[in-house]
Amino acid sequence: MAEEMDSQEDPVFTQLTEAVAANPDDPSLHFNLGLFLWEGIGSESKEKAAEHFVIAAKLNPQDANAFRYLGHYYSKVSVDTQRALKCYQRALTLDPQDSESGESMCDLLDKEGKESLEVAVCREAAGKSPRAFWAFRRLGFLQVHQKKWSEAVHNLQQAIRGYPTSADLWEALGLAYQRLSMFTAAIKSYGRAIELEESRVFAMVESGYVFLMLGSHRKGVEQFQQALQISPENVAAHYGLGCGLLELSKECISSGAFRWGASILEEASKVVKTGTFLAKNVSCMWKLHGDIQLTYANCIPWIDEDHVLETEKALADSILSWKNACSSAALSARRSYQHALHLAPWQANIYTDIAITIDVINYFKEEKKHDPIQKQLPEKMILGGLLLESSNNEFWVALGCLSHHVELKQHAFIRSLQLDVSLAVAWAYLGKVDLTLSKSPNFFLLSMKLWLNVDFLQLYRKQGDKKLAQNAFDRARSIDPSLALPWAGIALKADEAYDCCLRAVQILPLPEFQMGLAKLALLSGELSSSEVFGPISQALHHAPQYPESHNLLGLVCEARCDYPSAITSYKLARYALNTSSRDASKLLDISINLARSLCKDGKAYEAVQECEELKKKGVLDREGLHIYALSSWQLGKNDQALSVVRILAAGVKSLEPQKASTSISFICRLLYYISGQEAVMTSILKMPKDLFKSSKVSFVVSAIHVLDQSNQLEAVVSSSRSSLISHEEITGMHFLIVLSKLVKNGSEHCLGIQSGIDHLRKILHKYPNSYFLRNVLGYLLISSKEQKDAHLSTRCFTVRSSQSECRKEKGLKCAPEILGASTVACYTNNKHTFPTCKDQSTPQHGSLKLLQKWWHQEPWNKNARYLLILNYIQKAREERYPQHINTGLEKLITLALSDESLSCPYQKFQLSLCASEISLQSGDHMNCIKHAKNASNLSIPDDYLFFAHLQLCRAYAAENNHVSLHEEYTKCINLRTDYHIGLICLKYIECQYGLQGDENINIIELRFEECSKDIKYSWNVWTAVWKMVQGLIAVSNRDFVGAEEFFAYACSLNGSESCLFLCHGAICMELARQQCNSDFLLLAVGSLKKARDNCYASLPILQLLLGQAEASLGYKGQWSQYLKFEWSSWPPEMRPGEIFLHMHLVSKQLQEGGYSASRTIHGKNPLRWILQAIHLNPSCSRYWKALQNS
């Protein structure tokens, strides 16, 4: 105490007391002193302070502070609540924003339980000042407490303006919104609270519930999980998380992802189990656990994929263990429901839950189903629920579903409809009951499980009550279109069954629906669609005990060409059938299915065994016989196959036409394969002709006819063709006819392509829109050795932009393939050379792009890659093998060559040659020789092999290896080829490297003469080329007169090739120059003019020569005109210096001649022409001279 007194005597205290002593009438000094003393410790000091506050208040009655402290004094030091309240009241009236006194006063009132007074005080303060935030806050909290939500919202919003960072306020606001059902606002408020304080468990849990209510289960689950991390024992969070997970799993299950749903449910079950430990006596937690377990029991998938089930017992065991898992989950659900009911026996719906659970258990536990007490139990439990709430329509529906008496069912549904007329479920079930009533009641159980069964469907079509049922179904659909049951019900009606059923399956993935869907798909031919595959594999998860589900899965797999899976499924189906009913007709079906799949999978031995098994039992039907015959033949047991065929043939006549034609075509084909062409033809001739009146048979017979040179079947074929009706069939038949023309009109080694082309042209006129025939024509045209035909090929078909359409058309070759091939065959480029002939097609620049498109669409297509490489190499050649293209090409070719699955040796040969050429062009002689040698080692006809050696010749020539070059040259000569171009190239090489020995003088020429003569039209063309080459060789030997003869001969052979005429013209001019003979000049002018007329585009040099020739003959007037043409015929980047010189000369001449007005071409100064020429080629002395002259 002494020390405290000391402390009181610190300078501040003395100063304050002195000031008070000096001015005893100043209230603020008293207040300050009081405040100082109030801060001190001990009641003595507080009392002293109170004295000063009293004085201050007396002196200045408007000072709220003094009153506040007095209030504090009365409430805490000398406990006098009434006075304290009065002081606070006073303080508040003076300053309504004084939160301290307000809060203290309210606390006091709260302590005394005077809530209404508290509210009044706050209201008063709030009424006085809008900034009395404490009052709003207090009021808001109080109103939340009193559940006056809408008022609370207003006050809390106001309070938040004053305390924007108060998490409590936000939380309270969120709660208020939530109770007012303003959920998004509530979520925002809770979110703000959590943002301000991370550990707001209440806000998290509540916002989680709001999320669940809004249907965003995922977000809700997140909130609950966060809350549980902070407070792991929060019961509400456990419950919420359980609910959220249950809802999530239901989403998964309704979309068909059972395994996913099950894994979520396992988690949920764990969470709720912990919840039940935390709060043992909360009934709803137990009920939730029951719900989760019940859902789990209904969704556990039967798992068969981890191990293959090889025996009946394995299947039975696995089904049993699955059933046990399901029923134990259901039992656990029943236990939990009982807990819940025990805690809250007045909850009527738990009775229904238990009833449903018992029903589920009965479903999985076969033995209990037959126990009469167990059977009655569900009904009884529901009645318990109904006793409590007799007006609950859902209970009535449940009773209707679970009851075993049809009359009671009907009564229950009608009762529920009386309670709620728009209850779709009830309408739907009523419809179903009406259906069943019309037939015997015991059929109901079956229909309950498999009521979409097709037989059932057909049965009920005829029933009288159907109309009533239809009516009920329609009603249900109009009330609630999302209900699956009525959709499935409609499936009973009409052809739209499949679509309706699909819709039903998508809404509710029940195995019964899914199997029904598969059956309908079987009828409507949609079996391979994945809309069926998905559901039927799901159906297996929940109905593995039905043989039908396995069988249907097998059928679907078979339709999707997945035979191994189909076989497994059929086997399982048989096991399942053996363990359950042993229905003989079903067993037969499944066995036939199995045999068919085995046969399709190439397991002929097993298929035969399967058939023999059936045969032993004496139940092998027609389909079985087909399979039996086919697989016997595949096994090589021809006698057995033939004997089966005989049985089949014997029965053909008694069949309906559709089946008969299938049998006939099968028999014909098998006979052809077993006994050969002759035997099958004799059997065909023996058979009555009216059996062949079917398109299917017609195709088979015609195909045999194609191969028959003696035309024995002519009559049969022509009569059978009358049965072809559709467009496609007719074009298909024409294709066969074309093939027969190819075969029958061809010689020994070579097909009669020309006659095929002729026929196609005629037919195409009839069916101009058949892409198939167009493609065939294009293909044949490329195959033809006539030169012009290759050009035509690209014009006769169109490549459609979308590949997917192309793929649909079956045929010999697809359009892009033919295009790719024909652009390779008919190669022109216009970048560095010039088209010389009118027949040549316009350059196909798009083809490279088109092939890339094709390859992009079918990257696995080897042909696409191959043709792309070939076209790409054309492009490389066009651009003179630039490095970047070479690298890319090399890579592509290596890739293609390394592909082992490249089956065609010719393609490999071509690719090796390409690789060799690329290496040659990039100067890599080693690799060039390597690739060419690889190519020469392939086993392909000599015709082609020639080119490998030719390539080797070039490689050795480039290497200057004369010995090897000569060797290869000899090999080439010995190999022979039918390809003119090869010989022409060889001739070049021969001449260039002086390989021509004495012994093989003109041997190439002899070979050339021998070259296939069967090409009529192109023979001249090739000879012309040959002559031209000989002429060029003569030129290089400086034998101009001989050259002129060759060229003149060439021109006479091929009058449409301007290039020949150009050569001839040029050589004539040279001769004219040498011999000063104007006859040659005249000849030259004639040839050059012909060249000009034949030319497709303007050919360079030609005009210049022509101008020169005419000028030499004295017609100078045209000179500048020709030069102008010449100028324009060169692409700008390729104009040689020479042409600039000529331009210079002509412009100079014109200038001198006084034609300055015309200003020559482009109005250029003559001097500039010559300067440009020198710039292009500074080494030429003539240009310099011309410059000097000017």
């Binding site: 998964c252 979309s255 994945s530 809309e531 998905g534």
Partner: protein, 319 residues
Amino acid sequence: MKLAWLRSLETSHQDCVWACTWVPATDKSPGLLLTGSLDETVKLWNPEDLSLVRTNTGHCLGVVSVAAHPSGKIAASASMDSFVRVFDVESNNTIATLEAPPSEVWQMQFDPRGTTLAVAGGSSASVKLWDTAEWKLVATLSIPRPEGSNSKPSDKGNNKKFVLSVAWSPNGRQLACGSMDGSISVFDVQRAKFLHHLDGHTMPVRSLAYSPLDPRVLVSGSDDERIHMYDAEGKTLFSSMSGHSSWVLSVDVSPDGAAIASGSSDRTVKLWDPKMRAAVQTMTNHTDQVWGVKFEGGVRGCLLASVSDDKSISLYNYS
């Protein structure tokens, strides 16, 4: 859930546009659209007005795939000659040129963390993983051969497994690749292990996408004209949606996971509601098959880009 057409650029490239992706925004640049085309170029676009930012050249054949690093700084493009060019988005400097061993490159994607580039590789029936720090091949995930066909290496069994498409799960743990025979293979990346096949398609699977919300949900588009949704872990096909009248070439899932966009050979872009299992909207502004659709996953909300054989790019607003 709807798409609103924003703008299109008619001749964005000189030829078919085959690939597109979004380059995420960085602190220096906004998000950009990256496209690759048959005209052998890769172009960067500003989505605001579809103005061309840059044209990258250098590929020798058509560009089949483009991929962007999640950082937005690096991108990769691959062409038919199997060269993958990795470049700096801002400067266009080549960072690396990945030359795959003799095998094609058909689709590629960076993993969500950006440490690995997955390249789906054609007839080798595998996915190659490249480390993005050193650009080294770190792993090859091969699809196991079906039993019974391992006797002959050249047999068709493996050819059918030609890998066309690849996708990373949003957590980067799983990787799925689609093959020509219609099967989808799922791999565990950390253990470099094949997990299982997802069956259901009967024709080539051209495109795969995981739902950004849930690593279990995998969406696939195939030539059989259908879009499938799989539970990739429980290997269940739980939803099959049909509506396109030709091949489905490209699929993508919206950033909110609530919608799927698809591009098809039937020249349309469709928006699907997976819950309804039906297309809710069909955009017909393209005049040729649509090879790529891609949602922008960034902060800017939801743009959808589509590229097509008609040489055009279109942008839509997804809301």
